[in-house]
Symmetry: C2
Amino acid sequence: LQVKDIGEFGLIRRIANALPTAPPDVVVGIGDDVAVLRTSRADYLLATCDVQVENVHFVRKAATAYQLGRKVMAVNISDIAAVGGIPAWSLVSLVIPEKTSLSFVDELYRGMADQMREAGASIVGGNISNAHMDIMIDVFLLGNVKPEHLVLRQGAQHGDAILVTGSLGDSKAGLELILHPDLVVSDSAREHLLSRHLTPEPRLQQGQILARSGRLHCMADVSDGLMSDLRHICRASRVGAELWEKDLPISDACKEAASNSNQKASSWALAGGEDYELLFTAAPDDAERIQELLEKEGGGPCRVIGKIVSKGQGIVVLGSDGGRTSFSLDFALDKGGWDHFHSIG
Amino acid sequence: LQVKDIGEFGLIRRIANALPTAPPDVVVGIGDDVAVLRTSRADYLLATCDVQVENVHFVRKAATAYQLGRKVMAVNISDIAAVGGIPAWSLVSLVIPEKTSLSFVDELYRGMADQMREAGASIVGGNISNAHMDIMIDVFLLGNVKPEHLVLRQGAQHGDAILVTGSLGDSKAGLELILHPDLVVSDSAREHLLSRHLTPEPRLQQGQILARSGRLHCMADVSDGLMSDLRHICRASRVGAELWEKDLPISDACKEAASNSNQKASSWALAGGEDYELLFTAAPDDAERIQELLEKEGGGPCRVIGKIVSKGQGIVVLGSDGGRTSFSLDFALDKGGWDHFHSIG
C-alpha cells in the first residue's frame, strides 16, 4: 500500500493511532491543526528544529526508515540536551511523494516515537505534504529548562578547560563505511561505527547532570564537527581556543577505520560532525570534579581536550607531532581546512 | 550573490541582522541552535506547522519571494487564529539549493517578518539546509491562548448555525487566473483575486473577537476548502451539516472569473480552499448577535451558510436550483466529488 491509497487524512489517522497515548500536559494532540499544550509556570520554553533531507542528509539505501526516524529525533533532542533542557513535545512536518509505501511511513514514525519515548517526550502534531522527488522529514521540538540550569554557547572564559563527553569521529567513520563499501574493518568496529552514524544517541542524561552541576560556563552539541561547533562557542563568547590533538577521545573502532582508509582519525574527530557529544567549558579547577560527577552519576567519561585562550589567537590545534595549526574565527574566510565541506547544510 | 557565496552561517547572520529586534519574552533568539522563550503562566501554548513546497504549493514565476514569505506565515497564523489564539514566535526551516540568490532569501524573510510583525509576533530561530531541486519553506509557529478562549474543531451541536467570515472562492479564482493566463477579467477583479491567492490575510482579529464572545461551539479556518474543513468539524463533533448554496458569500470578482471560465463560482466557494476565512458554529439564537458583534468591532461581515444536522446525513448541499447533493463524512470513500483533488497536500 502507498500513501496515495489512503490520502493525507487517512495517513494522519493511521499515524495518530500508532503513536502512544499523549501525556496529560497535551490538551489537544495529533490530528488537529494546532497542538494545545500546558506549560509549566517557572520554566523557560525551548524550541528547536532540524531536518533530514533525502540525498542531502541521508540516502535511503543506507538507513532504514526506523533508523531515520530515530536519528531525526535524536538530532533535535541533542540540541535541547546541549542547553541543559528536557524535551517535551514535537511536531513533525513530512514532505513525501505519494508513491511512498505506508510501511516506510509506519517505520519512520515507529523510530521517531521510540526515540521520543526514551527521552520522556511525545509527538503532538505535524503536517504532511506531497513532494515530487526527495523525502524531507522536518522536526520541530519543544522542551523545558529551569532558568538556573540553562547553559548557552556564550560564556566561555579565558583559561577555561574545554571538555567533551564520549568519543569523537565515530559518526564520520560510519559514514566512510557507507560511502566506501570496500573499506575493510572488523565486524565489531563496523557495527559500532554504523550505529554511531545511523542511530546516534543524544546525551540527554549527561546534559542534565552537567547543567545541574552549576559549574559549566557554556555548552554545545557536536553536530557540525568539533572545530565548527567550538568556533560557534568562541564567537559567541568572544574568545579563542587551543585544542590538543593527543587528548582527543577517539575509539579503537574509529582508529581502525581511519588506518585502513589511510586517513587520520584525529581529522575525523576534529571535523567529522554528527557525533552528538556534548562540548563544554568550565574553570580549570572544576574540570576534575565535573569528570568525577559525570562518571559517578552514570554519564560516562568526559575528557579535557584543550583550553580557552584569547580571541585573537582564533582556534589553534596543537598536533601530536608538536606542530601548531591556526584557524580564523571568521566563517567567511573558509576556503578549505577542516570544515570546508560544511559550506551549507 | 548566491547562498553558496556566504555559506550557511553567513546566511543566518544576514537574516538575523535584517530581522526586527526580538521582544523581551525571547530570552535567546535567532542564531543559536535553540530558542529560549518565556511563557505566560496561565495560558495554553499553541503549536502548529505548515510548509510551502516549490511546484506543489507554489511556482516561482507566479509569486514573488516577498509574497511567498507573507503567505507561509499567513497560513500558520490562520491556524492559530482559528482556535482563538495569538501568534507569538516562529522557527523557519528553509531547504534551498545553494545557487539560490541572496535577494530571494532577503525578500522571503522580509515577507515573513512583515506578516509576523503585523500579527505582533516574531521569528526566533530556524534552520537552513541544502536542497538539490525544489525550495521548501517550513514554518513552525507557537502561540498562546487563554484556556477560556480556546475554540476547537469539535463541539458543533445539532441545530447550530454554520457561519463563515468574509467571502469564499476568491483564492481558487486567483489560482485559475495564474494557471490560465488567457482568462479575461477586469483589472480590479484580477488584482483582488490574485491578492487573495498570493497574500491571504489571516483572520486574526476576527478570531479574537469570536473567541472572546464566548458563544462559539467550534471553529476552523478554511484552508483545504469549505467542504473539507466542514467535514473535519463534523467528524470531530460527530454531527452532519447542511450547506445552502444560495447563501455562500461570493465576491463579484470571483463570480466574474467563474463566469468567464464557464465554471460555477459556488463550486470554487465549496471546494476551492486557501480562503483562510473562519468557519464556526453557534446556537441559532446567537448567530445574529455574533454577526453584529463582529461588524461592530471592525471584523467585517460574517454569513450564516447552513446548519448542523445529524451525523447520519453526512454533508448535504442544498443547491440554488432546489437540488440536494449528499457527501459522506468518510474521507476513505472519496473517489471524486468536490474535494477529490485534495488527496494529499
